[in-house]
Symmetry: C2
Subunit: 319 residues, 2 copies
Amino acid sequence: MSTDVDLNAVRTFVAVADAGRFQDAATDLSITQQAVSKRVAALEKDLGVRLFTRTARGARLTVDGQAFLPHARELLRAEERAAASVRPGRRALRVDVIGRKLAPAALLRDFLRAHPSTELDVVTLHDVEAAVTAIRSGTIDASFRAVAMPGRPLPDDIRATPVHDEPLQLLTGPGHPFADAPAVAPAELAGHRIWMPELPPGTEWAAYYADLAAAFGLSIDVVGPHFGTEPLPDVLADSTTLATFVGELTRVLWPADYDLRRIALHHPTPVYPHCLLHHRDNPHPALAALREHLTRSGPERRLRGDEIWTPAWAHRTTP
Amino acid sequence: MSTDVDLNAVRTFVAVADAGRFQDAATDLSITQQAVSKRVAALEKDLGVRLFTRTARGARLTVDGQAFLPHARELLRAEERAAASVRPGRRALRVDVIGRKLAPAALLRDFLRAHPSTELDVVTLHDVEAAVTAIRSGTIDASFRAVAMPGRPLPDDIRATPVHDEPLQLLTGPGHPFADAPAVAPAELAGHRIWMPELPPGTEWAAYYADLAAAFGLSIDVVGPHFGTEPLPDVLADSTTLATFVGELTRVLWPADYDLRRIALHHPTPVYPHCLLHHRDNPHPALAALREHLTRSGPERRLRGDEIWTPAWAHRTTP
DNA sequence: CTGGTCGCACAACCGGCGGTTGTGGCTCGG
DNA sequence: CCGAGCCACAACCGCCGGTTGTGCGACCAG
């Protein structure tokens, strides 16, 4: 019952399976034959099955041993990948995203579909400032962020590439006044309550929504603290007054019978300008592949410049 | 450098990451907070990075911790799968094949392509007798074998389904007399040397080739002992007298510049009758899926009964 | 500012795990 | 029948990994 597998014992098991003899595996591992025997015996006891048939000419795998062997190798590979994910230097590409359900995560999934063999680790930092610090220190390789924060220009050694302008939509329940509208202008939302879950203070996207509210006279209800997005569909479905902003590519899951509506915004359309930040001198090959993929699929700009809205501080600076 | 990861420490790391506090993880794991602290510290020392930032309100993942977490979960899943592969009762489907490069392995790959979520373990037993014993004892669930051995009928509780009649081909180097023949009759091979690698005595396929040789007056050179099939292409490529039999679906890999030839056999075509053996009462759902897949794709019988040759003892008995 | 509380780290202690050496039993080959 | 090869068992012991007890820093209420 207890899934207590000792990786050292597994390594020893694989060594014996490859060598065919306890003795040879012992010399390979630089331990005594008795230690190998003990480890294998302990593993067999843990698993509850015999892995080898001991003969006078060595050890041969039992049926259980044959079945276990590929899983053992996979287990050791998983261990190696896990250790490699935090190994300083030559580790997998590490990219920061705002959240795992937002547009950057979708772009990364798209990239992984095109380059399946890429090793990629996804993390989430607090804000673009922390991301820039992490990029400069080598902690992460790249970051999907709005390009700047109010009054904080990017350092010289950070490159920023606009990769996606994501139109915002209004998400409402079926009883909301705009539930059946084909599109809504942001100014029409003045006076309506906008429900926003958990906007961490000091982040560039909290600043984004604050600017958005100020620009169109919206009143944003920050519900919190820290309830996340989980109760969002429940609240919206039953409310005739609350609505929320969601990115076009943002995944929001709700039960099939909830009938929530995504209402387009226009005149102007608020867009969130996702950029890829990375260090000027980062030589990681996967980073080059990611940049190439993102620029090839290209930032979609279906809207004219005067039909969209972004905060003044967020206008892209690096071509 | 030493990839020595303690799975218990990894489990503890995941527990802390989920709980958010060392204290809570400790109660979850039924150990003291100090033990959790020690385990995490040891893991951090092994990996060489800090995984948590300790705060007065608990522990939060560092960037390295965030990157490591999914690999840690995968590592634990791999451990669980490995342990489950040998767990008595409710383990993955376990199938015996003659060899991993022969037709049954190809059929299994085909099955896995159609049912990707199936957990499948492949093993190799000595002969059909051992397979029957293993099936009756529950050690394996199914076996791809020729249906019987000379004079040994199948027990009543074993079901046999013919799944593939595999035509044999002649594999030769470019200098062999038959290298450019479109097809050869087995009787034409009388007097020629047939090279067969490592035929383990007492197996049903050794009996098959012995019968084949006797039926057509062939002289089979058993090269061995136990060199396997690796040197086969090297030997054939340089020889103008040696040839070997290979199944139509058997994978034989040789360098691109070797120019080995697969020559069809006819009048009659020797076929190897692969059957699926399994226990009458085995309720494993994946076994039903495998049988359904094999009977759907069906045993290919492109040849008339009087155009093929199989040993008399191998003629299928169960419909 | 200050005392209380919360949460993690450090210290001391100790039992058992996992290594070692030494030896015995089994099988196979000559 | 004997010797060689290989693995298991036994005895020993250092140290890993658990425990309890305590210290220290952060946050908060008063």
